[in-house]
Amino acid sequence: MSAPARKRGRILPREAGAAPLDVVIGVMAFLAALALGASLVADRAAEGWRAGLSGRLTVQVLPPEHGAPNPALAQETDAALAVLRSTDGVVHADEVSQEETLKLVEPWLGSGAVVADLPLPRLIDATLVPGARIDLATLTQRLKQAAPDSTLDDHSHWIARLKGVADAVIWSAYGILALIAIATASAVAFATRAGLEAHHDIVSLLHQMGARSGFIARAFEWHYLISALLAASVGGILAAAFFLAAGGLESVGIEPVPFLPPLSLQPAELGWLIVVPLSSAFIAWATARLSVLAALRRIY
């Protein structure tokens, strides 16, 4: 009768001094998850801005810059409305009320009687049929004929600028993620070299006994993969908690900063944060493997 198989001992002893690397990887993962979350927030905000502004037109009927108010402003507004409503592709056109106009300028000028007396333009908000293609040059010409003080804004300028800002945030986040990946890889490479140094006797013996480089590398890479996965998971969970807390603040009535998107992440977006520990583990695995294989190549 054959003896029962025994559980094999670990080729490398458990390292007592690996905690600092775990802390570094955990912090890196936290920062990476914040950067990834920021890119998701920026992407969602850009999409929201684009959806909110595209498919709409705004016509301003401007008061004169100097002198007395134009008594014909109301007639010009009505004429511009008539032009818009008669234009193919325009679903709806309505004048923005004085109260709403005041609300729009409130973040910059505040509120009060002085602001109410300011010569504000009359605004017309028009909604377009989704996908409608309107000849803006012709429409502008028709509006100018009907309302000489009117200007037409299709928001494309704003959409482009907001998209530019969002893209800058997203690419900055990607840059930060790349830097964090490099820093994580460097930390693991450093730790692997220290590990190789600490376990030089074991590595040297295994090499001497004919262990394939891959066998020795596996002993290290699995150690760092598991460590990085656990540490980065903690960092990712903390970042997820941060985004949930940000959402919680809004839900209890703490106002978000005007014009900035809310910092909270949607449940589906939170799922993306799992990429961080998985990537960290992969980076640690690959770095440890490459470091060990490179070190072994230097041994005869």
Binding site: S2, A3, P4, A5, R6, K7, R8, G9, R10, P13, D201, I202, L205, L206, H207, Q208, M209, G210, A211, R212, S213, F215, R297, Y300
Partner: protein, 223 residues
Amino acid sequence: MVRFENVGMRYGPGPEVLRDVTFVLEAGSFTFLTGPSGAGKSTLLKLMFLAEPPSRGLVTLFGNDLATTKRSAFAALRRRIGVVFQDFRLLDHLSAFDNVALPLRLAGGRPDDYTQDVEELLGWVGLADRLHARPPTLSGGEQQRVAIARAVVARPDLLLADEPTGNVDAEIGQRLIRLFGELNRLGTTVLIATHDRSLIENARAREIRLVDGRLVEMRAART
């Protein structure tokens, strides 16, 4: 099996530790390597188990000229060699069982396949009751027996032993030499570096002698 031709060896810019060493180990032979301390025995063994490259000369192992053999092929060559190191070089965090099983594990063996063999071998060297003991808890002689069991467990083509009986009493020493002899009869080429003249006199093996880095005396195996 092993061929050295005009092999010289120096560490860094130091003097030559081995000079113009030439000899052949035929397959299935049993040889003692003798000589005073500092004569170069350990260095010669290091060249044979591929721990160091020679500074000059030709080393051929299992028919492979090491100067032209790809480094990637060295691991496979090393797995054909069992080594008993003078300082044992056991892994302190592994049990005696796991230390002995290491060569089989490196060769891709599974515990199901080798557990019985390893336990039997440890029993044969008198360590049946120390399977789970870790090297720091073993005596010098016990560690040496674990090291020997590790070197022979995979039935290597070439067995190199550096002072393998230095820490055991005479009875155990003779028993270990019988183990080496048994392995030799099964086809393993054996080279034992030793100071122990009684071992050499009791055996009928060939002897090669190193003095001051030179191979100065050779005695053929007695029939």
